[in-house]
């Protein structure tokens, strides 16, 4: 299995998501946590880019960070998986290694 990339920065303020996507090989997964979760929603200026990335990557978002920020899981882009911390742990073990793009 390729690796899991975690992104914890808002895509509206930082370029971390772009950097992660540029360096994720096909089949690698992306997990959005902390302020990174803002990339997961429909109707934003980055939504099209994230949808396009779904062709090559599984993308996940950390549900507790979504809820904490008053965002709705219903508005998460279709195809993005919502996981809890247990799911985060499962992704870490399922993929070969983790690259945390800080």
């Amino acid at each position: 299995m390729p690796m899991l990339h975690t992104v914890n920065k808002s895509p509206f303020e930082r370029r971390t998501l772009d950097t992660a996507l540029r360096h994720a090989v096909k089949g690698a997964a992306i997990l959005l946590i902390e302020d990174g979760v803002y990339a997961a929603f429909d109707g934003t200026v980055v939504a099209e880019k994230v949808k396009a990335a779904l062709a090559d990557h599984k993308i996940y978002v950390l549900g507790p960070d979504v809820a904490a920020r008053g965002m709705s899981e219903h508005h998460v882009i279709e195809g993005i998986g919502v996981v809890d911390y247990g799911g985060f742990v499962d992704l870490v073990t399922e993929y070969d290694k983790v690259q945390s793009w800080l």
């Binding site: 090989v25 290694k97 793009w101």
Partner: protein, 131 residues
Amino acid sequence: MAEPWEDDELEGPVRKFMYVNRRAPYGTIYALESLEVVLIAAAFEQDVTLVFMDDGVYQIKKDQNTDAIGVKNFSPTYRALEGYDVEKLYVEKESLASRGLTTDDLIVPVQLVDKDQLAQLMEEQEVILSF
């Protein structure tokens, strides 16, 4: 007398470690403290690869002069890495070019890789420490 942090004795397999430097020096401490990790790591005789990408390429910019900011210039230490057998230094081509720099601007010899080669190189690692 040995410092306490020099007591670490280890056994185990050699693993492929990659240190990913993505931050500029001086503005924050990450560059300096990640260099400190690399220097310690060298003593463990692991397979070490260093990558400079994004603003991390500024860490190895020539001609750093910190006299007037009151902070130690640690850039000469990168030149000492070879003496620690840390010889695999990669710079991402796109990061360098987008900042208007070339390898002539760098204080150490590096191998240039494009983003796809770098992505592949990352996949070949066992442990990635990103700073």
